[in-house]
């Protein structure tokens, strides 16, 4: 339920959230500590309305990948998934930035496609 004031959209805003003006793309090479992607607020892209996270490298299906989304300036809960669970699409949400880490080190690479 939209109890947070930041989540209260007008009809026009919520309709706009479902369509996009532009896209951006980058790659994140994971480490055992979190690696942040582009801050789409600072970059001028504006917050991402949808994010597609696609595995790029070939890795162990059972590698544990941790993902966090920054919403309204702060990171939320950690999302733990297996490498084999990707690709992952996150939509219907306004995301400032994401960060990822792997329990395997630096051999996991993801292509991040974001829509703004």
């Amino acid at each position: 339920m939209a109890t947070n004031p930041l989540n209260k959209f007008t009809v026009a805003e919520s309709s706009n959230l479902q369509v996009y003006e532009n896209y951006s793309s980058e790659q994140i090479t994971c480490a055992t500590t979190y690696v942040e992607g582009t801050n789409w607020i600072s970059s001028g892209d504006g917050p991402a309305k949808e994010i597609l996270i696609v595995p790029y490298s070939t890795n162990d299906a059972t590698d544990v990948i941790s993902l966090q989304l920054k919403i309204g300036g702060s990171y939320g809960d950690e999302i733990k998934l297996l490498y084999n669970d990707y690709p992952l699409t996150i939509s219907g949400l306004i995301t400032d930035q994401i960060k990822m880490k792997s329990d395997e080190g630096t051999d996991e690479i993801f292509t991040i496609l974001s829509f703004h």
Partner: protein
């Protein structure tokens, strides 16, 4: 939130962007990237007799190795509201680079593996797409990866 002026669609525009009036389809045959082009240069420097034919190939390839699809603005289809890019033939491990032209200019390169396709991009107004491949094994004038592109307008 749609805070940038260009992101602000009217309610009617936002809803219209989610439905389609027509579709078009084409195939894009990737012919290799700059790595392939460099090999042509090596061939030129070691085999002067083939200079003319190699040069002819170089100038007919896109400078950056990309092959463009139809410009849907120029074709009269109008911008694509949704694009599905299907892998038709190719090597599963090849690296494919994709760029989307939005409002007249190409954006970031999207690197993906061939086996990641099909890919659908929707809810956005796209003028044109272009693709290249890391696989230059088919050689000069050859075809490595082929994609079927279905666009909805």
């Amino acid at each position: 939130m749609a805070t940038r002026t260009k992101t602000r669609f009217s309610i009617q525009e936002a809803f219209n962007l989610k439905v389609h009036q027509d579709y078009s389809s084409e195939q894009i045959a990737c012919t290799g990237d700059m790595a392939g082009t460099e090999s042509h240069w090596e061939s030129i420097t070691t085999n002067f007799e083939s200079v003319s034919s190699q040069w002819e190939h170089l100038i007919t390839d896109d400078e950056d190795g990309y092959v463009e699809g139809t410009n849907w603005i120029d074709s009269g289809d109008g911008p694509a509201k949704s694009v599905t890019i299907n892998s038709y033939t190719g090597d599963s491990g090849s690296i494919i680079h994709l760029q989307l032209k939005i409002d007249g200019s190409y954006g970031d390169t999207i690197p993906l593996v061939f086996e990641d396709f099909p890919l659908t991009i929707n809810k956005m107004l796209i003028d044109q797409v272009k693709l290249n491949t890391s696989d230059g094994s088919a050689g000069a004038g050859g075809t490595d990866e082929v994609f079927s592109v279905i666009s909805y307008h």
